[in-house]
């Protein structure tokens, strides 16, 4: 038996009962990262000393009979846009070169208290803007199922780390699909909770009305375990909701009898990869075998969701990213004449092409004379998108769709055409616009052995319903247990 085949739930149990030492678990994962990551490049940095120290601390506590948290000894990889005090945080951008976090993000603080062991910082598209990690200023992460292909993005590093079992758990962030799309393309479970369910304090902001942190895992039980730890109100994030957190692990057992699944006709469109279409429809049939029913529904403004997103997200980004000015942290341009030039050159040199493109779109959309036509209009259409879901959830309990219209594409295939790249998020974006919980779970493979993902969307704060659907699906199908050849 290998430690790196264990689930997070098993690791937590066996460390607590002293069957294994947390240090042995950490060592096994660090060894695996050392062997595999040169091929995958999921990590921007591996915390060898920190991980071993955190694991040794867990073992010492257990030896003394002290109480430990629910993730005691469980290794986790963290997307490199969440602050870990004393560690660098880069957002895979040159503009944050040399920046060291001075405090912990709330999710990191909660993970520490729960006894988790931090393996390292994972790669992303710069400032979480992208669908492939090709926008990282450092390197492109490889899809573990085919290293010529992208892992999806922006949380591609976290998805690839879990898919190749270099980590049993990882954290990602999702603004328009950045957890679900890479989860789909890498064949793991990725979960974006309801907007407001998890604090974003210490997550470097991209688009604040859309950003949400969530888990990557290989089983529904592991995702429930991690969500339980990170969910809840936080005084430091005023958008986090002051509502009690249910017991997600218990919710897994809730049966699917009578569960009504909606299949939006706008998501099953011509041009979609037929293998994806087939796998998704078969997955719905599997859920029906547990007593669920399905029907066709309509979300008429689906087509406009992408346009809304590409106004709102860049607008919010252009405002959020104004803090990177070369004054207090990060990269500062040399040889400048005055303060204005210091800002312009530091930002011009520090940001990559996609980030600049989005800042430009957002600044344009918010600029005098264009605000009503773009930003205000998009906010209104956002209401229409949300109303579509409100209406649909009167008749169904969850919505099932493909996560991505195709399997993982080749590195470089869409890199030169921003619109083509944006279209790869078409199925994941509306969920963020409406603030809903959504996840992607593996539901099959293409003939060429590339993972296919099923997306499930739920009513706000009904994360438990989604997790129980995944948990039942895993009893019938074992796609989630398949591992890429590189990881065998």
């Amino acid at each position: 038996m290998s430690f790196t085949n264990l689930t997070a739930t098993e690791i937590a149990q066996k460390v607590k009962t002293k069957e294994f030492k947390a240090e042995a678990i950490a060592t096994a994962y660090l060894d695996r990262i050392k062997a595999l990551d040169p091929k995958i490049k999921a990590f921007n940095e591996v915390f060898i000393d920190r991980a071993l120290k955190q694991a040794a601390d867990v073992d010492a506590k257990i030896a003394k009979g002290e109480a430990v948290g629910p993730l005691a000894g469980v290794p986790i990889a963290i997307k490199d846009n969440m602050l870990i005090r004393g560690e660098r945080c880069t957002c895979s951008s040159r503009i944050l070169e040399g920046f060291v976090a001075t405090y912990d993000s709330t999710v990191v603080r909660k993970l520490r208290a729960a006894g988790a062991v931090f393996l390292g910082r994972t790669n992303l598209d710069e400032f979480a803007m992208g669908s492939s990690t090709e926008n990282s200023a450092f390197h492109t992460t490889r899809n573990p199922w085919d290293t010529e292909r992208i892992p999806g993005g922006s949380s591609g590093g976290s998805a690839a780390a879990v898919a190749s079992r270099m980590a049993p758990l990882a954290l990602g962030s999702d603004t328009g699909g950045s957890i679900r799309q890479p989860a789909s393309l890498c064949g793991v479970l990725g979960f974006k909770p309801t907007y407001g369910r998890v604090s974003r304090f210490g997550l470097i902001a991209f688009a604040s009305s859309l950003d949400q942190i969530g888990p990557f895992a290989t089983t529904a039980q592991d995702a429930a375990l991690l969500l339980q730890v990170i969910a809840g109100h936080d005084d430091r994030d005023s958008t986090s909701v002051n509502q009690s957190v249910p017991d997600y692990v218990t919710a897994l057992g809730k049966g699917l009898k009578g569960l009504r699944i909606g299949l939006p006709k706008e998501y099953f469109i011509g041009g979609m990869d037929p293998e994806v279409d087939k796998a998704v429809r078969e997955a719905v049939k599997t859920l029906e075998s547990f007593g669920a029913t399905s029907r066709e529904i309509s979300l008429p403004h689906t087509d406009h969701g992408l346009a809304v997103y590409y106004v709102l997200a860049p607008s919010e980004a252009s405002s959020n990213l104004s803090r990177f000015d070369g004054v207090r942290y990060g990269r500062r341009a040399k040889d400048v004449k005055n303060l204005l030039e210091l800002y312009e050159k530091s930002r011009g040199e520090g940001f990559g092409p996609e980030v600049k493109r989005r800042i430009m779109i957002g600044t344009y959309a918010l600029s005098s004379g264009y605000y009503d036509a773009y930003y205000a209009k998009a906010q209104k259409v956002r209401t229409l998108v949300k109303q579509d879901f409100d209406n649909a959830f009167k008749d169904v309990d969850i919505i099932a769709t493909p996560t991505s219209p195709s399997t993982a594409f080749k590195i470089g295939e869409k890199a030169s055409d921003p619109m083509q790249m944006y279209l790869s998020d078409i199925f994941t974006i509306s969920c963020n616009l409406a603030g809903l919980p959504g996840l992607s779970l593996p539901c099959g493979f293409s003939k060429t052995k590339l993972p296919i993902g099923l997306q499930l969307l739920g009513r706000p704060f009904e994360e438990g319903t989604l997790l129980s659907a995944v948990h039942h699906y895993e009893q019938a199908k074992s796609w989630n247990k398949e591992t890429p050849n590189i990881a065998v």
Binding site: R85, G98, F99, V100, T102, Y103, Y195, G196, S209, D235, S238, T239, H301, D303, H304, A307, V308, Y310, V311, S322, D325, V327, R328, Y329, G330, R331, R332, V336, N338, L339, E341, L342, E344, K345, R347, G348, F351, P353, K356, R357, I359, M360, I361, T363, Y364, S367, Y374, K377, A378, Q379, K380, V381, R382, T383, L384, K386, M419, Y422, L433, G435
Partner: protein, 100 residues
């Protein structure tokens, strides 16, 4: 939607971004394409539709305005924060003269 190079230069100045000539040309084309796509929003009648600025039924969230010590647990000690400065002078961030 047609965007001119002059528009791009104006927006770049507003965004405090120094762009090369090559970038200006590229963004002139690409911004036009993206804004052209986004123009499909104008097909929809939204006369009686309220804007969504927040997806949850939340309004202002208040807390007591009280000071807390700045430590690593909250926001980092002053020394940790200053250690990130590209240029500093004692306990201050150093920049070029603001008023000529």
């Amino acid at each position: 939607m047609s965007i001119s190079k002059k528009d791009v230069e104006h927006v770049a100045r507003l965004a405090r971004l120094a762009l090369t000539e090559e970038e200006k040309d590229r963004y002139t084309t690409q911004l036009g394409q993206i804004l052209g796509y986004v123009d499909k929003l104008s097909q929809l009648n939204t006369d009686n539709v309220p804007p969504t600025s927040h997806v949850l039924p939340m309004s202002n969230v208040w807390r007591e305005d009280k000071t807390e010590p700045s430590t690593g647990e909250t926001l980092g000690s002053p020394e940790e924060i200053l250690a990130n400065a590209p240029e500093r002078e004692g306990p201050l961030f150093k920049v070029k003269k603001v008023i000529e």
